[in-house]
Amino acid sequence: MPSDPPGERPEQPDDLARLPHGRHGLPSEFVERNQRRRLFASLIRTVAELGYNGATITNVAEGAGVTTRTFYKYFDSVETCYLAAFEAGGELLGDRLIAAYGSEAEWPLRVRAALAAALELFAAEPELARFLLTEPFVAGPAIGRRYQEQVERLAPYLREGRELSAEAASFPPTTERGLIGSVASQVGRKASAGRAASLPALLPELTQFVLTPYLGPAEARRIALW
């Protein structure tokens, strides 16, 4: 677990985002947290704009307002920076979805609330969608495995729906991971294609897709159009 999930608000005002040169007297721990955070933010922006293949240490460092030497203090490659940022960002996304899931009592509505939270988050932050959902595959299987960990973290919540029917109880163990992987891919593609603003409109369709195996098409549709 990285020490600085990006969801945490920096406790210092924004004008500290670019630290003054020289002896500013800020505790070194704060400087490090701040620099790592800025490198993550810059990487996410760079990847959203140029794709993983277009991200270099030089442009990520530049975007963060630090030297490449500073970049190397924290990471030895774009890939390791991506891994760390992906872990932090994936954690944040998972937390949001799980919190939204917990905001409802009934399982079908819980699933719908989690989907809605994801769509709203990525509509507001399309850069994060490309970074978390699409480009990990471009980055390669090492990051693909972290992606897989996030899918596995969410699967048990969906698996609770198996209690709703005898047929669902004996679904193959891969069912939930397939559903989550599919939704992530659909959302990521739409966001990366510049259609992030329309993501929330996908809620009925995605809800129906995810719930149909557990509830059957008619009931899934009813919840989707709730």
Partner: protein, 217 residues
């Protein structure tokens, strides 16, 4: 294992009985096999033209007679794999008869069989191809166009009304499950996933009972 370089690799220039175009064809083929193998082993990004030609046993000159870059060679290997996979799936579906669920089941079995026969190609196309970025996006559309019609056949039976992108949603899920299976641990036969993938593919169209019946048939 992938087809190993044939005896043609030892054919000496000038002294061989084969016509030149046959030789060129075999050199091209060896490069396509080699690029998939090297990319599967080292990752696409770490693959170099030097490593490809060494594996293929062809000269740099011959490589560049056929391909403009490693990307060009990789995409050619991908396109050929997709064409063959699509062909096998279509043939299997045809042989399975009229029942849409049986056709989907046969198509998935054929795809998994193909991927098991060519493990390096499977890794290259499923795990490594996305590294090409935008180029891979175009290939994704081609793959979608190749496999979606089979699923469309299952629409209209039972719960087939859900959304215009249902085929794409199902194929996204199947792709992820293959990616996951190939990226974890030691290579196992993908064929063992057949019942789970068939059930997954048919669930949104046929509902749980119909999907299970087709998967266990």
């Amino acid at each position: 294992m992938e087809r190993s370089p044939s005896r043609l690799s030892q054919v000496k220039p000038g002294g061989h009985p084969l016509r030149r175009e046959v030789l060129v064809h075999h050199q091209r083929r060896r490069v396509l096999t080699a690029v998939a193998e090297v990319a599967a082993e080292r990752g696409y990004r770490a693959t170099s033209v030097a490593a490809i030609i060494e594996r293929a046993g062809v000269s740099k000159l011959k490589f560049y007679e056929n391909f403009s870059s490693k990307e060009d060679a990789f995409l050619a290997a991908f396109d050929e794999a997709l064409a063959e996979a699509a062909q096998r799936v279509a043939t299997a579906a045809e042989a399975a008869g009229e029942d849409p669920a049986a056709r989907v089941a046969a198509g998935i079995a054929a795809l998994l069989g193909f991927l098991d026969e060519r493990p390096a190609l499977a890794r290259a196309c499923i795990l490594e191809a996305p590294s090409l970025g935008a180029q891979a996006g175009e290939r994704r559309e081609l793959a979608l166009a190749a496999f979606a019609p089979l699923l469309t056949g299952a629409r209209g039976e039972g719960g087939g009304e859900g959304g215009s992108n249902l085929e794409e949603a199902v194929l996204d899920g199947l792709y992820w499950l293959l990616y996951e299976a190939l990226s974890t641990g030691k290579p196992k036969r993908l064929r063992r996933l057949r019942p789970a993938l068939v059930e997954f593919a048919l669930l949104p169209f046929l509902g749980p009972a119909g999907a299970r019946a087709a998967a266990s048939a």
